[in-house]
Symmetry: C2
Subunit: 143 residues, 2 copies
DNA sequence: ATTTGTGCAAATCGTTTGCATCTGA
DNA sequence: TCAGATGCAAACGATTTGCACAAAT
């Protein structure tokens, strides 16, 4: 895995994506992108991604993780999920979908399939346009 | 307005509500409750309420504002609206409804009437039950 | 060579907490 | 009286920022 040659293909794919997003494919960005996008859909906090990176022999500073997450978000590679309170989650699934938030565990999960549709999207107020509709279904362990 | 006699009625109404909620009607709580509930539906942050109180000759500490907002929330007098990570908003409208979030202005507005219905509420995952469904329609100034 | 990114530590912001002091019943 | 409430300042956790150094084109 650490062998550069065997990683050639995967790394250069990532590199191209970054380049197309106008971001220099630096070591850190490439590694973080691989962590983010090689495991299916994820909802991850900066802190957690940082730990993962460090654990994977990719020592990155937390500041860089934050920078990178925001840059990826601007580039449309990630979506910020504002759920609640303290932590910010980044969603690797950029398509139109909604979320369960598991209270107590503080976990975010995609709502599968087309589980929800908003019946009628309301009119935006005077002179406003809708940017996005977020639906968060808060769930808890059944008692 | 500062005359105690003329405020008798309004203040004692608030007092009773607080008492019924199991909260001592202290000076600060009564005053904050009046600020909160005498102007129709509001979406207010702790900081803003604090400024308002101080401006209205009700010097309260910020810590007490936080305490009070949380106590009111537990008592069902307020609802916490999680929009955006950083700030927490408290909604004086406790009934079932959803919100516009005005980006750029960072303002929260109730969605009027029955503007939205969630088409189909999705099944909660295995062993989970739905606590609440939040719909946030993010809007911005039309360009 | 120039531009852009990175790491560190300090700074910031909203919120919470510990504790001594006050207050309402 | 005395449990419960308040105020202050210090503590906190997540995120951001400033700046010297390093890496990418």
């Amino acid at each position: 895995m650490i062998d550069t040659a065997t990683n050639q293909t995967s790394r250069s794919n990532v590199s191209n994506v970054l380049r197309q997003a106008g971001l220099r494919p630096t070591r850190q960005r490439v590694s973080l992108a691989e962590l983010l996008f090689s495991k299916g859909d994820r909802h991850i906090s900066a802190e957690l991604l940082h730990e993962e990176a460090v654990g994977a022999d990719v020592p990155v500073s937390l500041a860089t993780v934050y920078n990178t997450l925001h840059q990826f978000t601007e580039a449309g590679l990630l979506r910020e999920v504002a759920i609640d309170g303290t932590k910010t989650y980044f969603d690797t699934n950029v398509s139109d979908h909604h979320h369960f938030f598991i209270e107590g565990e503080n976990r975010v999960v995609d709502i599968p399939g087309d589980g929800v549709g908003i019946g009628e999207v309301p009119e935006a107020p005077e002179g406003m346009e809708i940017v996005r509709v977020d639906v968060i279904v808060r769930v808890r362990q059944k008692s």
